[in-house]
Symmetry: C2
Subunit: 108 residues, 2 copies
DNA sequence: ACACTCCGTAAGTTTATACTTACGGTTAAG
DNA sequence: CTTAACCGTAAGTATAAACTTACGGAGTGT
């Protein structure tokens, strides 16, 4: 499975997006990420695992803590997926416009 | 809820992504989209509804058929979300680098 | 009027997954 | 060596959502 597909799967959950957004602020321990959240700390751990597999987060061990931060690989993959899609869509639009023009010519 | 969040929710499902990709090819009726897919036609209809509410698809009635095509609004929203995230992430990186430099200076 | 095609929705079921509690491992500190 | 902080994983449950079948409406042709 492509990385971009995994990032989309990972970001398809509201709580996971919330957790992911918290990583924007910089390096955060699991306890810090979970603080104030409506779900338990183990749940956060599981979400972080998914984000990690999706190339959206990286861990760094620091004593007894795991410091999580944003991994740009996932974001890059997502951007690539989006750009590719965008191009093909625009091309389809152009084709549709050409067909439209051809139909115009015929009915004249 | 922001549009970008809804697009992420919508694209968080593999079958829905597959359907969405089929819309790239241009205007397609529901029957055409569902053709050869492993899920039933009503299922496709439901997915298309979700894509529509997520700003990723638009419908056009043509006789007894509904022609679906890609809506760029959702893609634009997603791109915006991604860009915003990217900026904040880079800024966090810069801050981290500065802190790192400050620490370097202190220990010297 | 009738038949046929194409499609959306309702209702119900099934399946995936988000979540909790319980537990054990690792590290640092007293 | 004990205690405590921090965290990941296992197992089980609960909930959301993807899917099916059944149905009816709307348009088109005969």
């Amino acid at each position: 499975m492509l990385l971009a597909e995994r990032t989309l799967d990972a970001l398809g959950d509201p709580t996971r997006r919330l957790i992911f957004k918290r990583l924007k602020g910089g390096n955060k321990s699991v306890e810090e990420v979970a603080r104030g959240l409506s779900v338990s700390r183990p749940a956060v751990s599981q979400h972080l695992k998914v984000l990690k597999t999706a190339g959206l987060a990286v861990v760094r061990v620091e004593g007894t803590r795991r410091i999580y931060s944003v991994d740009t690989r996932g974001l890059t993959a997502l951007r690539g997926w989006l750009d590719g899609f965008w191009d093909k869509t625009l091309m389809a639009f152009r084709d549709a416009a050409e067909k439209e023009a051809a139909r115009e010519r015929e009915t004249r």
